[in-house]
């Protein structure tokens, strides 16, 4: 039983390898980049615009709105990171309708990579916002005693992010795989639909959690709590 697309290896040379995870990730990246490029290639700035542009505008403004609701007052600063997280995870889940495709987010390596990115991005945004000392001070609040617990919290939540997304995506693929061997026709279709929903929910959860962590690390979040 294959648990992860990492195990499908097309090419390997020592430490370097080209597995299905990386390949499908490139595919998703290609879809996103080329799709965006095609639509934004000729953007209209007046009141008449194409429906594709409209769709992208809806997606972008919805992401901006979500980020703002979390408490980040300048969403345009964070949309590059948070929006891409959502779009990548969401697109990876939506592409499960393509036969033969396996979501790269069903690989713990991918989710770990994403979680590591979040793990690095949170202190970076925090330092950018309140300076190194300001950010580091947040670890000893309310008291110094809380320092180890804060560090444990940082690590554990990163682990939780990775495992949560991997578990959900992998289980979806697993269930479909198992059901295909038992009831090959109707049931897998229903489960695929459910998998699409689960994928979108996971994309939302992942990016929102990342937004919340960033908001917690930045001053804006702090002001809101104090207020």
């Amino acid at each position: 039983m294959r648990l992860s697309p990492d195990e499908i290896i097309f090419w390997q040379h020592g430490f370097f390898k080209l597995n299905a995870t990386i390949l499908f990730t490139w595919g998703v990246m290609l879809i996103l980049a080329v799709g965006s490029k095609l639509v934004t290639h000729r953007l209209s700035t007046d009141l008449n615009r194409t429906r594709w542009q409209n769709l992208l505008e809806i997606i972008v403004t919805a992401i901006m709105k979500q980020i703002k609701e979390v408490g980040l007052h300048h969403p345009e600063k964070y949309i590059g990171f948070l929006g891409t997280l959502f779009l990548f995870v969401g697109t990876a889940a939506l592409c499960t309708v393509i036969p033969g495709y396996e979501p790269p987010t069903g690989s713990l390596s991918t989710t770990a990579a994403l979680a590591l990115c979040v793990f690095v991005a949170v202190p970076l945004f925090g330092i950018e916002d309140q300076g190194v000392s300001g950010y580091l001070k947040s670890y000893v609040e309310p008291t110094v005693v809380m320092l180890p617990f804060n560090i444990i919290s940082e690590i554990s939540r990163t682990l939780a992010l990775a495992v949560r997304l991997f578990g959900n995506m992998m289980s979806g693929a697993m269930i479909i795989g198992i059901l295909l061997s038992i009831t090959p026709f109707i049931f897998p279709v229903v489960m695929t639909l459910l998998g699409l929903l689960t994928g979108m929910v996971q994309a939302y959860i992942f990016s929102i959690l990342a937004a919340v962590y960033i908001a917690a690390a930045t001053k804006a979040r702090k002001e809101k709590i104090e207020g």
Binding site: S4, S36, L43, L47, G83, S107, L108, S109, T110, A113
Partner: protein
Amino acid sequence: MLIDWFTVIAQALNFLILVWLMKRFLYKPILRAIDQREKLIAAELADAAATKSDAQKERDEFQHKNEIFDQQRAALFSKATDEAKSERRRLMDEARQAADDLSAKRHENLKNDAQILNQAIIHRTQQEVFAIARKALADLAGTSLEERMLDVFLGRLKTLDGEEKEQLTSAIKSTQNPVVVRTRFDFSSAQSAATESAIKDLFGAERQIRFETDSELISGIELVTDGHKVAWSITDYLTSMENGIAELLEDKDKPEADVAPAPEDEHGA
């Protein structure tokens, strides 16, 4: 092993590349387009607001002008109405005055015509009456009437009042011309003698008396000397009667003119 560290590193790099790609091809252009559109909409809204405000201003101005125009029109209308009324009143007054004048003039003319006609009728009647009377008397005139007239004449000479008698006497005495006695018919010799003796008795002077006939005298006798005349004639009666009737007519006309109604009253009726 569930985690392949090469894959982790590769996926992290992939993700960072994707972030860059998305920023480059999606977020920046889309956000810029949205910003530009919002600016455009804001500009258009501002433009619309300015246009609306201009329109409002123009509307207010127009309304203000309209109100002023209405007021001016009302004032002009009222002025014109007043002028027309006063002009009408003046014209009416003039017309009424002219009508009154005309009416008065016509009334006057009618009155004059009536008076003239009346006078003509009266005159004609008078003449006719007198002509009839003269004719009748002329027809009746004869010797016996002459005798009777002579008696009356002589009686009158005798009954002259003192002053008149003195004047006549002195006139007869002072002149050398004969005293003329004029009648309609020739006197008989007896009549002539009686007349002569009567004159002599009365005036006490010896004067030649000449007897003349005059067809104008209807029935009467005249005694004429220089500057004095004593006469008796029915013509005298008729003449005095004519004068009396004429006076009566004049008296009758005067009150009529006085009671003529005023033109205004006549018009008002």
